[in-house]
């Protein structure tokens, strides 16, 4: 039933990606757990958590592209939502430690004990319950995004002005979370997790399960984004990106549309953060660093903005590059990464996925040549790829 519906409504590429993600969600854990170490097919645990981390980044990138690629809202602060989701999860994991902390306090996390907190602050209440924490994972970024977006979109803050205040937001949160007084462990953050839902967080099976969960959530995000983009709502968003005020003259409440995707995107970022934390084992304020958010933007740009798959490719590729380069040329890897960014911009203006688009366009052009009819440069109907003209900055 569902698959039927799905094949009818999803476009082909989206379906392939989702199928692929579901596939690796099953396959990677199997190869990790069941295939013996000696086999060349074995996926080491190291790789499982590494891939898991990449996929959480990919999820963040998909969330970011939803607002940037399709709605023209360049967020330089999406890392904040990611981090908040991560903190919500981290708080749950902290509470799970219970009396197993170094100070053996049944309630207070270690950092509170040694900083002399007497009781659990109110905002930590409830985080011992997984479902409450899971709710907070989407609710905290969601509510923050909603409040922030409600103000900003209503006041018609757009373009770089919006970008910079998102940056201010994440920067302010960075400074705030750095403070021990905030009750989130200061710069050391939350760490030393023991288990999640009763399973040892370091066990291979747990890691595999987390990986699978990440892949499935990413698949879900691709599905949801795809659904939105293909809907009329998606067209409205693209219209807003191109000519916001014109959209208003057609009667659309632009601020509500923006608020909807913005909040949704923040929630997706929150989920990404929540999946990230148990896999890397720590959440600390550096996740709020503006540079992290900018990096996420760069993944999207590298992969291809305004596509659903591009961000995934970009996130995985750039982070794989980082993993590889930092080991292969630890002293010169920034040259390699920097050059990669420069070359992608110069030679792949539409990102890596743009290569594919260009190739398709060329095929279409060849076909057109035969027709001897002036054919459209871009053939499109399904909304698969929407080339983005640039919002005019500073004019």
């Amino acid at each position: 039933m569902i698959t039927q519906w799905f094949f009818k409504h999803g476009d082909r590429r989206g379906v392939i990606v989702i199928a692929f993600l579901v596939g690796i969600a099953c396959l990677v854990p199997l190869l990790n757990l069941l295939v013996p170490d000696t086999s060349p097919l074995h996926v080491p645990t190291y790789l499982v958590s590494l891939l898991g981390k990449y996929l959480t980044y990919a999820l963040l990138a998909v969330a970011l592209d939803l607002v940037w690629g399709f709605c023209g809202i360049l967020s330089l602060g999406h890392g904040a939502f990611f981090a908040l989701g991560g903190y919500a999860m981290g708080m749950y994991l902290m509470r799970q430690i219970g009396p197993r902390g170094v100070y053996a306090d049944p309630v207070l996390p270690d950092f509170m004990v040694f900083l002399n907190w007497k009781e659990l602050p109110w905002f930590w209440y409830g985080f011992d319950n997984f479902w409450f924490a899971a709710l907070m994972v989407v609710l905290v970024p969601g509510v923050l995004a909603f409040g922030f977006g409600w103000l900003a979109f209503r006041s018609r803050v757009t373009g770089v002005y919006l970008s910079i205040i998102t940056q201010a937001l994440t920067y302010a949160l960075l400074l705030a979370f750095f403070r021990n007084d905030m009750g989130f462990g200061g710069n050391n953050g939350l760490t030393d997790f023991k288990d999640i839902l009763g399973f040892n967080i370091q066990a291979g099976t747990t890691r595999s399960a987390l990986f699978a969960a990440t892949a499935l959530f990413l698949a879900l995000a691709v599905f949801v984004s795809g659904f939105i983009i293909r809907s009329k709502l998606g067209k409205v968003l693209v219209g807003v990106r191109d000519a916001e005020s014109r959209m208003r003259f057609l009667g659309y409440r632009v601020d509500r549309y923006k608020l909807f995707v913005w909040t949704l995107s923040a929630m997706m970022a929150g989920i990404a953060g929540a999946l990230y934390v148990p896999q890397v084992g720590i959440i600390n304020p550096s996740e709020f660093e503006p540079a992290n958010s900018i990096e996420a933007v760069i993944w999207v740009a590298v992969g291809g903005r305004g596509t659903i798959i591009g961000p995934i490719i970009g996130a995985v590729l750039v982070n794989f590059g980082k993993t590889y380069f930092t080991t292969a040329f630890p002293e010169a890897w920034l040259f390699a990464l920097g050059a990669l960014f420069i070359l992608v911009t110069l030679f792949l203006p539409k990102g890596i996925l743009g290569l594919y688009g260009a190739w398709k366009a060329r095929r279409a052009a060849d076909a057109a040549q035969k027709d001897d009819e002036v054919l459209p440069p871009v053939v499109k109907q399904s909304g698969k790829r929407v080339p983005a003209p640039e919002p005019q900055a500073a004019e």
């Binding site: 201010a168 900018i294 960014f341 911009t345 004019e395």
Partner: protein, 540 residues
């Protein structure tokens, strides 16, 4: 009662004069030698005792010896424990006899050890020398002597001070001596009315210093305590006012730093629309250029050392500007019309430049020194302003003025604006757009470079320098209103001042958070910044 007290003072003065009188007689070197040798004592207490004895001895060379000790030029031989004045000379010390001043045979470095001094000793020495040089013919020596006594507040120096005050011609030094005397009096067991007069004397001086001298007295019962208390509260209320002034002045100073950091970006981003993430690295390159220029000047033209910053200014402009031109021609020019991609490319450039600097100059800080005209501070009322900050304010405003002139009054400025508003049409108007683009980006980068020269005076010069400023710079440009130089100026200054007013009661961290929140809220009120351009022209 007051008469009897007066008499006691006279008597005390007489007593105090005795050692000075004794000091006036020549003492033979042989007697002094053990004193000098005692300077090399095992611990600071012994040395300290030797210092005061040496000072009291009144030996003509005592000041020389003590100065040398304080400067770390006094050595003790490891073999015979003799003490000598040494100057490093290759692997030896060129040695001088401390008492006679006669040249001695050079001592190998390994055979001698420096006599160590710590802060307390340095203080003791300064006070001791103060007593010795209060009558010096050199005005600066007299001044520092008076300052030393003011700090040390030794009642024993009162008679000396009296003598010096009556002989002093320089009004400024005289005042200082009087204050030193007042401080010493407060520290003595003088009569209440003498002390109250001293309190008045102290109160007339530097407020902070006065507070330091008076606070301990405030607790005393009786008229002295009351007088001190009254003086303290009057100083305090004056300080309140000065606090406000200080916030504004420091705010302007912080604002100038922000302005300098942001002003180049106001061109590359504000005017050209390039989201220039490499802006900070241009600043950094300017700072490193300063470093290199200083190295060269120190090495080859030491006479010009004081002015190496002035030499660095044009060089930094050219270096950063040149690199800017290369970046524009090599990369940015392919990206006009897609400003968001400039973010990606310039981020890449910034990574490369950081790493290049790291590979070239090393990962750690390099040292850029300050010329004397940018060191130290001066007081205006109860406000301390450092020269470096003052020059930076002046410099930032001048850069702003020049830039404004270039943009608004020159043909080049007009062309820059035309090209960035509509490159294609500008070209059709006969404007050589590639040229103008390169020059504009070069100008923005060059200005970032000279900002780097100024920032090298107050901040780290490290490969990370630029990263520390990039966020603030964007914040300033956007807060002020993109494309409006006045906005950048006013934006920088208001952020600076807001920061300084928030800092005292919220603390630096919360203050900074509050400023960020204020920016977010402010943009809601003015979605296009402080100096928003209005009208149809924007949508056109």
């Amino acid at each position: 009662m007051s008469l009897s007290r007066f008499l006691t003072i006279i008597a005390m003065l007489g007593l105090c004069l005795l050692p000075a009188a004794a000091g006036a007689q020549a003492v033979d070197d042989a007697k002094l030698k053990p004193l000098v040798e005692a300077l090399a004592g095992d611990n600071f207490d012994d040395t300290s005792k030797a210092v005061s004895e040496l000072a009291k001895s009144g030996a003509p060379r005592a000041a020389v010896i003590l100065n040398a000790l304080s400067a770390g030029d006094l050595y003790v031989s490891k073999t015979d424990k003799s003490v000598f004045l040494g100057v490093r000379d290759g692997s030896d010390y060129a040695a001088t006899d401390p008492l006679s001043g006669a040249k001695l045979a050079p001592v190998p470095r390994s055979a001698a050890e420096k006599i160590k001094v710590n802060n307390r000793l340095r203080r003791d020495i300064a006070a001791a020398i103060g007593g010795l040089t209060l009558m010096s013919t050199d005005a600066t020596e007299r001044r520092s002597a008076a300052e030393a006594i003011l700090k040390n507040r030794d009642p024993e120096s009162i008679p000396l001070l009296d003598q010096a005050i009556s002989a002093e011609k320089d009004a400024g030094i005289k005042m200082l001596m009087q204050r030193a005397k007042a401080a010493a009096v407060l520290n003595s067991s003088a009569a209440d009315d003498v002390k109250i007069a001293a309190i008045a004397e102290i109160k007339s001086g530097n407020g902070r210093e006065a507070l330091g001298l008076l606070t301990p007295l405030a607790g005393i019962q009786g008229p002295v305590g009351e007088a001190a208390g009254a003086a303290i509260s009057s100083i305090n209320s004056e300080l309140e006012i000065w606090n406000g002034i200080q916030n504004i002045v420091y705010g302007l100073s912080l604002g100038s730093v922000l302005l300098l950091a942001a002003i180049g970006l106001a061109i590359t981003f504000g005017v050209m629309g390039v989201i220039n993430m490499a802006h900070g690295e241009m600043v950094m390159i300017g700072a490193y250029t300063t470093f290199v220029v200083q190295q060269i000047v120190h090495a080859s033209m030491p006479a010009l050392s004081e002015y190496s910053l002035l030499i660095a200014l044009p060089v930094a402009f050219l270096v950063s500007g040149g690199i800017g031109v290369v970046i524009e021609r090599g990369i940015i020019r392919f990206l006009y019309g897609r400003p968001l991609e400039t973010l990606l490319a310039t981020w890449g450039i910034s990574l490369v430049l950081q790493q290049a600097t790291r590979s070239w100059f090393g990962a750690s800080n390099v040292q850029v020194s300050s010329p004397s005209w940018m060191s130290g501070s001066f007081d205006v009322g109860m406000l301390t302003l450092t020269w470096s900050r003052l020059w930076i304010i002046v410099f930032a405003l001048s850069v702003f003025a020049v830039l404004q002139l270039v943009l608004k009054k020159t043909m080049l400025g007009l062309r820059m604006r035309a090209v960035t508003q509509n490159r294609r049409m500008a070209s059709s108007m006969g404007i050589r757009t590639p040229w103008v683009d390169a020059l504009t980006f070069g100008l923005g980068s060059g200005i970032a470079g000279i900002a780097g020269v100024a920032l090298s005076q107050i901040d780290n010069v490290s490969p990370n320098l630029g990263q520390g400023y990039i966020i603030d710079s964007f914040m300033v440009v956007v807060f002020g209103g993109v494309g409006n130089l006045w906005g950048t100026l006013v934006g920088a200054m208001s952020l600076g001042i807001a920061n300084k007013f928030l800092e005292p009661f919220a603390g630096a961290v919360l203050g900074k958070i509050l400023v960020l929140v204020l920016i977010i809220l402010f943009i809601q009120k003015r979605p296009r910044g402080l100096f928003a351009l209005k009208g149809r022209a924007i949508e056109a």
